[in-house]
Amino acid sequence: MPIEAADCRTPFGDARATSAALLGGRRALCPCPVLGPDGGDLVPLALLSARALGETAPPGWLPCLDGLAAGIPQGPWGGPRHPVFMTSSNFGVGSLFAFQRDRDPRHIEYCMPYSMSEVLRQRFGWGSNVTLVSHACVSAHIGLLLASRCLRSGSAERALVFTFDFISPFVTAGFHALKILNAGMPAPYAALPTGSIGLGDGAAFAVLGRPGSGFCLSAQTLHNEMHHFTANDPAGAGFAASLAPVRAAAGGRRVWLKGHGTGTLEAGRLEAEAFARHFPDSPLVSWKGSLGHTLGSCGLVELPLAIEAMRSGRAPGTVGTAPPCFTDNVATEAFSTAGFDGAVIAGNAFGGAHASLLLGHD
């Protein structure tokens, strides 16, 4: 499936600026109070410049989406043949939290997925052919999959996948309560005694259906373990079920690996081992030690970064991680993408959800 265009926004800026920051080993994460204006423990968060964790009305991140949307190639988006797939794990849940806290009715318009998406649809002038996807941290992967299917079926000419997740006390407090968002900075795939994640703001888009970027989605797979709400099958069966079809699609191509790699220990170990087993000669990186976990948007936020890595010839390493790692294939330093024919981009979510795609040259 050809990718016409793709870009993202992180606290570092667009894909090019973010890629440069990652190559420089910079971290967007910094310690912030977990409850924002209400204080609490310091935890690693990567917020857009000048944005507070507590939500405003309207949300303070809307101008960021304006800037992102300005780069979307022109088209009758949301019309019959130009569907939009809007994905998020949060949508406007930060506004729901703010309403609960402040009782300011101006937040209500942004609270729910259907209402937040309507705000954006009208803001960007899109038609109502907008599919909303929310499957926690694999949401963007599913949006890309559904868009590809629409295009392959002939029911669409081009498809826009648009994703955004901006963190709020709703989600920071939740992961803090689960004890994986703590005082530690994330070190994905590092063999440490304690696991830690960071959370970050992120948004991205991809337009599929026409050549333009020089890259394509060669394979997309999903698997849902349904073993436990917040833990994986300890045998790693879910990772294997998700990666095996991608390995088959890759054939003999030499690929590098952009894993989910949030910084949790058990999932990180299972993922690194599964990648090492299925792609023994491929370097594995995660960028969430710098950008934080951008939740439902991570699969698409990291796609243009992978494209940028392949365009520029340098893939950022696993920022924040130093050996020893769970497996020998974890790349802690930047490396040349020359000689690689593609990249696997993987994500995981609650419920043991797995999603993987193969990014290749057009």
């Binding site: 409850l35 209400d38 609490g40 949301g78 019309g79 019959p80 043949r81 794990s89 949508f91 849940v93 729901l96 939290f97 309403f99 609960q100 806290r101 009782r103 209500i108 609270c111 729910m112 997925p113 259907y114 209402s115 998406s117 309507e118 038609g127 109502s128 052919n129 907008v130 599919t131 909303l132 996807v133 929310s134 499957h135 926690a136 599913i142 559904l146 299917r149 629409c150 079926s153 029911s155 709703f170 407090a173 939740g174 992961f175 309560a177 689960l178 004890k179 999903l222 698997h223 849902n224 373990e225 349904m226 073993h227 436990h228 709400f229 917040t230 879910g238 079920a241 609650f350 419920g351």
Partner: protein, 217 residues
């Protein structure tokens, strides 16, 4: 045109039934102790998915406008000591995950959608385009009182599940999407649910470019 046969239909129409009453009524469908932390929407989804347990369908498409309203409300009420259980239960696709995790039933594709006026068309499209031979298309809402915020929860609880196959067995009816040129169209979950409950046919533009046709035998 894309089309699938409707093989099985599951319906729950509890209206304004309270959570405790739903739990008591449906307890027998679940393993002992499993319902204690389940949400009303999880319980309802468990009921409508029960007839499809043995189908072998490994694609599930789920549609809900509001998702886990009660868990969202109660999670927010747990601050500043946020509840980890309510946090994980409050995520949008939680209802189906509660059921499938309790059953230890993996699925290849789980496609949870949100939305309002076009959600039925988009969920039907996801179900009809899925490559699996059998697909479950389910959805629903739970009903709670949420003071000051009537945009965050459904006025009535309901749930449905359709087991769809891509040919072979002659079933209860068909679900079909046809391309059209119309730039507008809508079909929200309550109207779709009403048609399923009454086994009434539908033929309408349900989203831009999508004519949804529901037929019964």
């Amino acid at each position: 045109m894309i089309e699938r046969e409707i093989i099985l239909l599951g319906i729950e129409d509890p209206g304004s039934e309270e959570l405790d009453a739903t739990r008591t009524r449906l307890r027998g469908l679940f393993a002992k102790g499993a319902t204690r932390r389940m949400t009303q929407l999880g319980l309802l989804m468990g009921s409508v998915l029960e007839p499809m347990r043995a189908s072998g369908a490994d694609t599930v498409v789920y549609a809900s406008k509001y998702g886990e309203s009660r868990a969202l409300r109660d999670y927010l009420a747990s601050f500043p000591s946020a509840s980890p259980t309510l946090f994980q239960t409050s995520i949008h696709p939680s209802a189906v995950q509660q059921v499938l995790v309790a059953r230890q039933q993996p699925v290849r594709e789980f496609l949870p959608l949100a939305g309002d006026a076009q959600i039925v068309a988009h969920a039907a499209q996801a179900a009809l385009l899925a490559p699996a031979p059998s697909v479950v298309f389910c959805g629903g809402e739970e009903c709670i009182a949420w003071s000051d915020n009537d945009k965050a929860s459904s006025p009535a609880a309901f749930a449905f599940a359709l087991l769809l196959s891509n040919g072979g067995a002659r079933g209860l009816g068909t679900l079909r999407l046809e391309a059209c040129d119309d730039g507008a169209g809508d079909l929200a979950l309550p109207a779709f649910f009403a048609a399923l409950r009454g086994r009434r046919p539908l033929d309408r533009i349900a989203a831009p470019g999508m004519r949804l046709i529901l037929e019964w035998r």
